[in-house]
């Protein structure tokens, strides 16, 4: 059945699937947000441990989603994987570095004789939540601002900037996207913690988290506005009917007007995030994460769709426009995309068991009685 779909349809399906995984990752960055907000809201060891244990039951999901995002892009758009990882070397290496130090920190932080001390592992978590996310944002920003690579006839990449990808962090647009991700993650982190922790023994922590939610949301707004306005005004990369890439004025505005459903997704997403924050700060409810989380997913989808659909190269090259990657020239073969689409049919099943376990494990809120010797 899937084998009968034409290549272009499969390429679109896989851009949607990769976007979904990437956007779910953005939702799950509440873990990274929590890791940085830890320093702002916890005033004693009990509060700190509550936060880390609450996040510690979820960090692997975020981590795994990031790994799957990489794997899905490799399988579906191998030219992107080869070009970006082999080309923008330093930005990816540094991102990976921050995730390596995250992966041991929950397990090692409180264990006796842990060599580096709890403070170091908490600092690792801070680095992952700040530098790691900032660089991911900067890397995603290059989907719109372009990168410095050329591909030869055999599709082998040459990167022409000595910073090998780190230069992305010096563009105002990319940097704003990175900072928006950091602050939005902090909003999500506070919302998740408010939903997950039993605050009876620590009522002040709840108060501080609600305040942090609002202040971080406020901090995220100028960056979000800057990104949205820039997107509407900037020139973008467009693919013409001859398959040639050229700079097009107001390309991304045209994408949104040409595909109003993406605009609808974007606006719904923003509204949901705002609703989540309002539920938390105005209505004093604990369910804000279930609004702002899906809202973030929708905003993420709108960003990825704007970057990849409507004949837009999703990984454009500034130095050689014709080297730019589109979902058409970067994808796997028809056969591989077909096979992978069959595999993707298992995703709803995976989501179902994750949801069930999440529900079963979080029915009862996390209390101080669970901070015994087996805790993180």
């Amino acid at each position: 059945m899937i084998g009968n779909l034409d290549l272009v349809t499969l390429q679109h399906i896989w851009w949607v699937l990769c976007s979904v995984v990437g956007s779910l990752f953005l939702f799950l960055t509440f873990v990274q947000g929590g890791q940085t907000i830890l320093w702002q809201v916890s005033k004693n060891e009990v509060e700190k441990s509550l936060i880390i244990n609450s996040l510690g039951r979820k960090w692997e999901l975020t981590f795994t989603t990031l790994v799957l995002f990489g794997g899905a892009l490799f399988a579906a758009f191998p030219k992107f994987y080869a070009t970006s990882f082999g080309g923008a070397y330093w930005v990816w290496i540094l991102i990976l570095f921050t995730f390596i130090i995250q992966a041991v920190s929950y397990e090692f932080r409180k264990k006796p004789n842990n060599f580096l001390g709890a403070g170091t592992y908490e600092f690792f978590l801070l680095i992952n939540g700040s530098v790691g996310l900032l660089l991911i944002g900067a890397a995603v920003g290059t989907f719109f601002t372009g990168s410095n690579f050329t591909l030869n006839d055999y599709n082998f990449v040459t990167w022409s900037h000595p910073l090998r990808g780190l230069e992305a962090a010096f563009s105002l647009f990319n940097l704003s996207l990175g900072l928006f991700l950091v602050f939005n993650a902090r909003v999500l982190g506070s919302l998740y913690l408010i939903n997950n922790i039993d605050f009876k023994p620590v009522p002040e922590l709840e108060y501080r988290l609600r305040r942090a939610c609002f202040s971080n949301f406020t901090w995220s707004l100028p960056f979000l506005l800057y990104i949205l306005v820039s997107l509407l005004l900037m020139s973008g990369f467009g693919l013409d009917e001859n398959g040639l890439v050229a700079m097009v004025k107001r390309k991304y505005l045209a994408n949104l007007i040409g595909q109003p459903w993406i605009l609808l997704i974007l606006l719904t997403g923003v509204v949901l995030v705002v609703l989540g924050v309002l539920r938390c700060t105005k209505n004093m409810k604990s369910s804000g994460i279930w609004f702002a989380g899906p809202g973030t997913v929708l905003v993420g989808l709108a960003i990825f769709f704007t970057a990849g659909f409507n004949n837009t190269p999703f990984y454009p090259s500034k130095v050689d426009l014709q080297s730019s990657l589109t979902i058409f020239n970067a994808s796997s073969s028809h056969y591989t995309l077909t096979v992978m689409t069959y595999v993707a049919l298992t995703i709803p099943f995976v989501l179902a068991y994750i949801s069930y376990v999440w529900y079963a494990m979080d029915k009862k809120k996390l209390g101080t009685e669970e901070l015994g010797s087996d805790a993180y």
């Binding site: 490799f74 082999g86 070397y89 006796p112 591989t336």
Partner: protein
């Protein structure tokens, strides 16, 4: 295709990949083996309702968790290193190689990540049975992840189910079932997992031996040993069987690797197996020196292992490099010649197509198709380049086999004395027994050295040498990240060992 090859850079990229993979493989086999043992211990608890089994499960799970975290940390870099260090490879074979990696993420990693939280924090939050189910899911997830990454690795050693597309200049998948069910994939998965089960079992034996020597947690140690020694024994038998199968597959698909790890330069009928030996490192391919300073040979056994027939011919390095007409083996020099034609006709095809010269393009394409099976050889400079490092391959293989033969005997000895109820008195067994885990890790690492060093210079056997698979980076850049990762991983390893030792010295909770 590739103009300048900076061998120094390629070697740093190799070194970095080897270093990160070897660090990762300190933790992976323990995860693969210990996850099942945790599940078995917990199953006994659920079945018997005896709390001692619960405390015992929780103790091994705690050590499992410490090991798991650093396994995850060292694993993420590997997935992305295919892109960072081997960018050309990622493009040329991404259509095939990317799929198992993505499938690993979808079907395996999420099982591990989701149920890991239940395994550690769910004791009071979910039912006993669901908890046990979760522990099994962690074990299943870990081993499924091994399946997919080993399918990917096996495909590099024996590329099947694909074809080269000259228009995109890449290999494209044609049949995923061939990729998954290739005999190399099956023997690789079964051998890597069964040998990892041994590592998990011997980890339990090592620590339990220490408790018995110190006269601590005696009952728990004995109970742990019973299950682990049975699992270790069965796994050893499976590892022996699948190891034999792996050697047979090497003989069929990577004869150069087999010749290298056996130190066989001149092929022979009824070839003997070198049981042990000291390699003459000044020996070069094609010269008259003896390959060994000293060796113990078992007549006829290599032919039997390689071809399942004692009198059969096993080609040596010289036969494979210089050819052997009598045995109908084409030499590397001839393959290089054909490979160079493939590379240049591909270049001509590309240029002619770009210029719109259809006739020339068609003729170049026909020439390419005739020679495409030797494409990888076109990038080699000399026939000797096709020979992997012999001494490293030889020693690694023999260390693996010798240690691997020891493990089932050790497991049997533990079971025998447990049965006699005198294990605590067998200091001669328990004292060296403490080191079993390290010996199993050495055997496991040595196995990977055989597999990966033995297939050099190929990223994809016969089709793509590592010199072409590389990324366009300077050697300085890779050196920097090499030291960055060595430093970080070493720090994390020290932390892990200290935490682990502390937890072992604290020991399981007693009632």
């Amino acid at each position: 295709m590739i103009d300048n090859i900076d061998l120094n850079m390629v070697n740093w990229a190799r070194a970095q990949f080897a270093m990160t993979a070897m660090y990762h493989w300190i933790f992976v086999p323990l995860t693969l083996g210990l996850s099942w043992l945790c599940a078995f211990y917990e199953a006994i608890y659920v079945k018997t309702g005896n709390d001692e089994w619960k405390r015992l499960s929780q103790f091994w799970m705690k050590l499992f968790g410490i090991n798991f975290a650093i396994g995850v940390a060292t694993g993420i870099i590997l997935e992305f290193e295919f892109g960072t260090n081997w960018s050309n490879y990622s493009w040329m074979v991404g259509d095939i190689f990317g799929a198992p990696l993505a499938i690993e993420g979808i079907v395996a990693f999420f099982l591990e990540a989701t149920f890991f939280a239940v395994m550690f924090f769910g004791w009071e939050r979910v039912s006993k049975r669901f908890h046990l189910f979760s522990t099994f899911m962690v074990a299943l997830g870990s081993n499924l992840s091994a399946l997919w990454i080993l399918v990917a690795n096996a495909w590099m050693q024996y590329p099947v189910g694909m074809a080269f597309n000259p228009d995109t200049a890449r290999f494209e998948m044609q049949n995923i079932l061939e990729v998954i069910s290739s005999p190399v994939a099956i023997s690789k998965f079964t051998h890597a997992t069964s040998s990892s089960f041994i590592v998990g079992s011997l980890f339990v034996l090592s620590i339990s031996s220490w408790y018995l020597l110190r006269n601590r947690h005696v009952r728990m140690a004995q109970r742990s040993i019973v299950v682990a020694a049975v699992f270790g024994l069965l796994s050893s038998l499976l590892a022996g069987f699948t190891g034999d199968e792996s050697a047979f597959e090497n003989a069929n698909h990577q004869p150069m690797k087999l010749a290298a790890y056996e130190g066989l330069y001149n092929g022979e009928s009824g070839a003997g197996l070198v049981a042990a030996g000291i390699v003459n490192t000044s020996k070069k391919v094609g010269d008259d020196q003896d390959p060994f300073h000293f060796e113990v040979r078992i007549p006829g056994l290599l032919s039997l292992l390689a071809n399942r027939s004692p009198g059969s011919f096993v080609p040596g390095i010289n036969d494979l490099v210089y050819g052997n007409e009598q045995e109908n083996i084409m030499g590397v020099d001839e393959k290089i010649e054909k490979g160079k034609i493939a590379v240049s006709s591909l270049d001509t095809y590309k240029l002619a197509k770009k210029a719109g010269n259809i006739k020339e393009a068609e003729s170049a394409l026909a020439t390419f198709k005739e020679h495409q099976n030797y494409l990888g050889y076109g990038f080699l400079e000399s026939p000797e380049e096709a020979v992997p490092p012999v001494a490293i391959s030889f020693y690694s293989f023999h260390i693996m086999v010798i240690l691997g033969s020891l493990f089932p005997l050790v497991c049997l000895a533990y079971l025998f004395f447990i049965h006699k109820n005198t294990l605590s008195k067998q200091v001669w067994l328990l004292l060296p027994g403490v080191s079993l885990f390290f010996l199993s890790l050495i055997a496991s690492q040595a196995g990977w050295v055989v597999a990966e060093v033995g297939r050099q210079p190929w990223a994809i056997q016969g089709l793509l040498p590592v010199t072409v698979a590389r990324s366009n980076l300077t050697s300085g850049t890779i050196q920097t990240t090499f030291y960055m990762f060595v430093f970080l991983f070493t720090i994390l390893l020290i932390a892990e060992i200290r935490i682990m030792l502390k937890q072992i010295s604290i020991g399981p909770k007693e009632s």
